[in-house]
Symmetry: D2
């Protein structure tokens, strides 16, 4: 994964191209030649291809193009021809355009606080369109920042029904990405289908260990020497979606479950923040049930 | 876990006391008072107690006692009375007495090499009594060091039968501890029962993730972002024994299975070496299915 | 360092004893016997002694004593006799008594926010008596939490003079410990002398590398592959005090100075939070220019 | 840094192109277009450019070209024209061609053993042309592997003179890269000048902390909480060359100098092995006093 710098002052003229397709000779040349002829300058490019994944090719290019906004339609229209010849899946995004995100939260605030803090610092390339919770605890915190807060109570019985409420809110605010900041509720298929690889969850274990509920209790029972946290895209199967990022922290026999929770909080917020940042920067390509993080 | 120094030049007078029992007031005082009255000097002591594990108490004391060898019987006999009054499980070992270990190995040599290298450096408080393998590949390596090498071929059909051969070898060499250095064969119950919490295995995953065969393939398929290795005591249930040590290494989408194996080798040998070292130094107490590593 | 649990519900009856003295036989026995005779129960004890540091001995015992408050004077008075016989430096603190801390901050809020967040969660065994800054930026943040905020502008010329103002504030609020949460100002000797090993600073490098100003710029120039953060007690010599905790994060050639600052922020707040927590829990003994963290 | 896979069975047709030059538009397009027109297929490419380093551009491309050996001269001759137009520094190497390395060693064998073990496993893309030592301790070890061993005693007085002996040996064996595996002797300028950015040293500290002799003693005195190791290219200024890789390990107050040495050995061999591997795979570009590790 890269840590990129903008070498041009004019961030407004920066764009990111993400492509994936079956591997074959000439793709890098085709793409870079196209950009050169458009008058664009490649700021960073990374590429991945492999036999093992079935001849899959993926590439991310960050480039600068003078008068990007004015030439936006031309750029997309012209690249469509290149993409067509390689049968690519692709998208170009303007680096200066912030994605609209919604944060779902329940009764624990550490992941929410972390995202809000980074957002205020300008670290997140996002507009926080809404914070949605099944509880009212964090309404004051969110409202104090002049962000919309919605209380949508959810029970096992009302889950499907409230997903409609959620969907309406997401549509109303034109939300692009949903972040589950320790939301602790199962997301119905209907919502997942509308946001494929656009719902990011933080699970408080080193997946695939300790799937499901109470992972810190499970970790304590098993006597592991490290605990972990995993950020992943949400799919229909619980805790089985493509993993974006994971990290671990050392523990020992003196830690009880409450110590694991406390230690785990630090892991969870860092791991989730990284995953959200990479997603917002268009650094992630999903292939099958895995992620390529450029 | 501690990293201890011997503050007295006379290592021969050093001993280690390990006790465990139900928790109650006065245990630390009782033990330290006993040692003081014996004329011993406590070099290091560590203690663990907890409600959560059901009022369990464990303690490790390293002490120096002049003329330890001559006073060995007296020491054990006298402490038995203290232990009795607290209904302790206990053992005292002489720090200078090396445990006899047998190393089981199959077709990969990295863990074996690591142990041999540390043994030659004097890092392992052990005498290598025998190296036992189901293949002959490493006979020259082992023989060159003037260590006994035994070739005991094993198939699924002869497993139980060969366990008898193994047991005879272990008894012949008065082996105290067995190290499975990527042995890759299931150990029959008969052998496990004879060496409870004395057979150390290295599993090439972050347990409990990826139990069983081909864990690196499993890790590759799941798309994890870290791979791990786990050293544990062998119990009847495969990969379910008390965990002694674990560690992880970061990987990314560019790593295929052979990269995972290569990266994993470095993890496996370090994790196994640490676990063996702690075991040899009498730093480990097993309680239920967990370890306390002092 | 330990991660301890209180095995008794009655936290009010918990106390911590910290002792240090020249090493000699019988100290552990003497202390544990004393506590046993007082009717106290040892919950956790850890001990350190070494030749290499000149026969130095240090010990930390956490114990429960029924009716601690009523027996406080008796406990201290009686232990004084034990301490005397071993010529110990010692102190006993009530675990339930929160230390009063003052946080000094300048223009960056990440360390302040981290401490405030953990304080609100109940993770810090502290009362925040005052937040003192040479700027007014964080007055709203602090005041919103109903904590006293003081603006004390400081220039090179007024440094000594303002230290008097600082001292008055610290005395007024009966402050026990000062945390420099990226305060970025030199602390005059007068203040340091009044708070020996009670002023904790976070330096944004892996000390002793990159002492002094602009450590991230220094790290960038040198081309290191890891950056670090160091929490230490403040002494008269800049960045030379006893180190309490350090940690590092991996970087690469793509990181410019602003990336280092961003990555470093996550390190700084975690490292400072750990150090402050250990200090508040009386886990630290300073010996010479080093710390023993139990 | 990448972890690359060869997607073609024909490793003999693989080549690596490394270029660096002043940044300007069209470089990626120029290079990839050239390779496409040659009929080559890009297997992996990575690129780095930045304002901060003064408009510097560097790129590494791994590609497959059928009949590489037969077309070698044509490839180099043709690329020279492209390189010329961008005023590039460049080199193309055949991935299957092993670099010839010499290992310098003194009285400690852990780094030597690590390199030999990886070499036997086929992990190092190198031919070990010679092992050179100022002592005879490891002659049996090296000779047993049928590798040339040279004993070249060195004192402060004979250092310059013996550098001539060294140089002759290196030339005789057509050595490309020198690895100082804890050689512990200063390398004279004459030798460094002949092998610019081709002599790799392992220093047993986290540089720039603890430059010079006895870094573990220095670390112990300062009371750091992590120790490190640094692999770097050797330049005339002691321990000041471009850093290739660093790593650290946690220690605590219980570790004395001999514990630091023991812990450090594990760090040193892993850090050196990584650096050597990246160098052998042509993953490193040196720019000023820094490395770019692709």
């Amino acid at each position: 994964m890269n840590m990129e710098r903008d070498v041009f002052s004019n961030e407004r003229d920066m764009a990111i191209l993400l492509v994936s397709c079956a591997d074959r000779p000439g793709i890098v040349a085709g793409v870079s030649q196209f950009l050169f002829e458009m008058g664009a300058n490649i700021v960073h490019s990374d590429q991945f291809s492999t036999d093992a994944m079935g001849g899959f090719f993926a590439m991310r290019v960050k480039f600068q193009l003078a008068h990007l906004a004015e030439r936006w339609d031309e750029l997309n229209w012209q690249f469509a021809a290149v993409a067509d010849s390689f049968q690519m899946q692709w998208r170009i995004t303007q680096a200066s355009k912030k994605k609209k995100i919604a944060i779902f939260v329940s009764k624990e605030d550490h992941c929410l606080q972390e995202l809000l803090w980074r957002w205020r610092l300008g670290e997140l390339q996002a507009e926080i369109a809404a914070v949605i919770s099944n509880h009212t605890d964090f309404e004051p915190l969110v409202s104090a920042l002049h962000l919309p807060f919605y209380h949508v109570p959810v029970t096992r019985e009302t889950r499907e029904e409230q997903a409609v409420t959620h969907l309406k809110l997401l549509q109303k605010h034109e939300v692009d990405t949903v972040v589950l900041a320790r939301y602790m509720q199962i997301i119905p298929k209907m919502l997942i289908d509308r946001y494929p690889n656009k719902i990011i969850n933080i699970h408080h274990s080193f997946l695939p260990a300790f799937v499901g509920g109470k992972p810190y209790h499970q970790a304590f029972e098993r006597g592991v020497k490290l605990i972990g946290a995993t950020a992943h895209y949400v799919t229909e199967e619980l805790d089985q979606g493509p993993i974006i990022e994971q990290d671990v922290e050392r523990i020992n026999h003196r830690h009880d479950v409450s110590d694991l929770k406390r230690t785990g909080r630090d892991l969870e917020r860092i791991v989730l923040a990284r995953a959200v940042q990479w997603h917002l920067n268009d650094q992630i390509v999903v292939h099958g049930n895995k992620t390529i993080v450029f």
